[in-house]
Symmetry: D2
Subunit: 290 residues, 4 copies
């Protein structure tokens, strides 16, 4: 991660823990006592599973605990309630690698939103198993890394990809229509840090050629799904979904064209939510503090 200053920086605390009385009052009391000016707070209880979730965002300025002491100061609270927790700062941006293959629409959408400041992340590199989108990378002055993959070279190339990600301190991999299945080694290296866009309304039409399958099935609505990648293909926690209407007039290529609108919008929304630290994963589902 690296530091980029913008606006007044905030601290963001993401919590999940077993539900019990007193969490909200204790945590909010801690912030109040230390003069924390809360900008945003949201919580959720999964009553069935008995899990408590919370997202707290407060201004670093004026908080009575020094920025580099906050993490330490939260530890007793976290232990008291057996919290899984992460602390973020709004001016420390995720470092994202965009993985692409051939289709340009998601890539352009991400780059355009990045350029306008909507997506607060750094993009040190674009990676691809094909050459087609090199020119797009060059247009934006972002290094393009070409990793052609065959059945024989896959393991070796993935190892090189992981090494590159590590070297560049990547903590977010965005599969922007990357048309290769990731090995479990790669997936395990970035738990809940790989975001994919699948071009169907999951769990309908997993796998390859979902628009063809949807057309054959005669659906009247198509969709796109953005999710964290887990070992089970297209089975990871869903972050965002979108849909649009189709009719018998629409051919497969119309499905593909209309679906592109969904793919880019849904993927960018998921990346936005993640980079703003608004997603929490549990039991293969997400809490999205929208």
């Amino acid at each position: 991660m690296s530091s980029l200053s913008q606006d007044s920086p905030t601290a963001i605390l993401l919590i999940s823990c077993p539900d019990q009385p007193g969490i909200v009052s204790t945590v909010s009391g801690f912030l109040f006592e230390n003069s924390g000016n809360i900008v945003d707070v949201d919580q959720h209880v999964d009553t069935e599973e008995g899990i408590f979730f919370m997202r707290l965002e407060w201004e670093v300025e004026g908080f009575s605990i020094e920025r580099d002491q906050i993490k330490e100061s939260l530890r007793p609270l976290a232990e008291q309630f057996r919290m899984d927790w992460t602390l973020h700062f709004s001016d420390v941006y995720p470092r994202a690698a965009l993985w692409v293959t051939r289709d340009n629409h998601c890539l352009y959408d991400l780059l355009s939103r990045h350029e306008s400041g909507e997506l607060k992340m750094e993009i040190p590199l674009i990676l691809s198993n094909r050459e087609q989108l090199r020119s797009v990378s060059e247009r934006f002055g972002i290094p393009f890394h070409y990793f052609p993959i065959t059945k024989e070279t896959k393991a070796e190339q993935e190892a090189a990809e992981i090494a590159l990600m590590k070297k560049e301190n990547i903590d977010l991999v965005v599969l922007a229509r990357y048309m290769q299945i990731l090995s479990s080694t790669l997936v395990d290296t970035f738990p809940n840090q790989i975001i994919n866009i699948h071009h169907s309304f999951l769990p309908a039409f997993p796998g390859a050629k979902p628009y063809h399958s949807a057309h054959r099935r005669g659906v009247k609505i198509i969709g796109a799904t953005s999710h964290f990648v887990t070992e089970d293909l297209d089975e990871g926690p869903i972050i965002a979904q979108g849909v649009t209407q189709v009719s018998h007039r629409d051919s497969v290529s119309d499905f593909i064209r209309k679906g592109k609108d969904l793919e880019q919008t849904v993927l960018s929304r998921a990346v936005w939510l993640h980079t703003r630290r608004r997603t929490l994963v549990y039991n293969n589902r997400t809490v999205v503090f929208g």
Copy 2:
């Protein structure tokens, strides 16, 4: 079928046939020569399968062929182009049996739209495998037929149900949240005449308890699907679908509540389309002349 007069009656011709040049000009020429005042015309070509579809609606009044001669007069055209075709009149209403179990929302929605004149069909009877909705039937003065079904009595009861449908000249069975699987005998007796509402966005979550499955999967959108019933459960041609957003805040019972809105709206839309002769089935898909 029975005759109920309303508005100026129209004839409706539904055609599907192998695509070839000259169909549109021949059919529209036939109507023109016989002074047919076309009210609505729509066609579609499935270029992949090479099938032509058409829906023509014209006023009976002023047409130079007598109403009871129209069918005969179309026969040469139909043979020339090897058409599958049906002819309907807007003042001859389908006779619909509403099959229900316990949930009242789809039933009320259908009855309310029937009462307001939106759904142009007759409803000679309501059928159920439970007693709960008898009172609703009585409120609307529609005979309620109770067919309790156990594993042992299923074949026998279905035979009785078919006999009742035949006796009442039923040509549309609406499964308005009817919670029994139909035997293939029953399904085969009413080809493309049984409309079901399934409480998921098919093909996602077929079978029982789709809202529970959707909740477990953590989807961000839920749906409902109305389709013609075929032997394969939840696999029939889709007529209409609807969706709505959900979030991690929604429990299974919230899914069920929000889903009800979709179920009743989507089912009623499908029934409306069918009763207005706007649906055509082919290759397990529908053409919907919306």
Copy 3:
């Protein structure tokens, strides 16, 4: 109000007050100290206006303060933070009067949801300025009050209507396609207690015949809006909105038919939100704790 027992009863506290540090920790601390088992909590800050909003729901059972003492016990807190606040109990249902004119769809939808237990309210009466829907009232065994209104009798009839509402302890008036403009006297008598459904996507097409106007304007999407009624016609705080697609193929009567789906769904959703004490009004807007 009257008491109807169902499920485990909860207390619901709705708060709005000037934003300042410590509200959340103080309020949640108060509940924690008194063994309140929180079922649901949600809050919002309008940072621009500096207003804090909160909805707290906790179980009456196990709370260390007696049910009839809760209100009193909250007073010091409320004064400390200068709160506007209301306290409700989930087993004390609003008493709703449904006002209708001619269209049956919203009425049936409300009655059907009431019957299924989705809408937790009492419906002691239906009121209308026309006779058409008397039969629906009778079907459901709900007293029907007929108040024909002419320009001359309007003031007098409204006075009688208000008297009837008072006599029946009505605290929610649902205008379910009631086609009369309410006088300001009537509106002022029930502040934020009258919910209307307007058949357009407000603020587009206020006033009469919105579907005709929408058709003339050539819009591609139509909508419906449910809002609290204020003195300015169609200008009150919006609770819920819904939309659906239309095309050049749709006539005004198609707009009306498709719009009905929206009207009933959107109105019922707004009534559900209100009866579950999930709405707060401020500055002619709503906070909806969905």
Copy 4:
């Protein structure tokens, strides 16, 4: 216009005329007799206004009339039915000028779709009243024309703009978030050839700062509208609209962010429809042959 070959070229005929019997059979008969292989046909009758609309698309190859004779050969038909009509060829692309100001999202979306071949048009130039997006133009190698405008220079600059459009044979002006009001001279020069995106659900919130107005009004859904530009600001024929949900949690800047998704998607859809010759304008409305 210029010729770019791709796929098998088609001829596209757009017709509007007073409705009368025999149009469909005459026109389709004409194509049939000349061995026209129809690829797509759609028609519509505005029964209220008595106007007939048709879009016919057929393959140039195999048609018995030479490509450069088609227009002449249609003239008798057109006169017989008093048609307004235009003839297009799918391999003759519109020449589009993209007019922008500061926001990059619509521009990138159009350029990305153009690059992928989805938008079949030429883009000889980008025009702006600001300098900010020059770098985007340069990235794509498209000439950037800077026309700063003040109250004093407006007339003069617009004259220069029109001259440039003429010189470049522009027949489509896309206002991709161009923040200047066009004079009626400019508008009249390009009748039904200027497509704008307005960032609200028209006719709600015309004019400046619609997201601020929408936020103040407390709407629960926001929208975007693409329309042909006429002399009355934001009053032109609507081509496409899109909407998305918002809540009390969304600030004005959230409205703006969510609205951008709509703006780029809706504008690109409208441009797609127009470049595919799928739009017809009449009475300030559009027929969109989707």
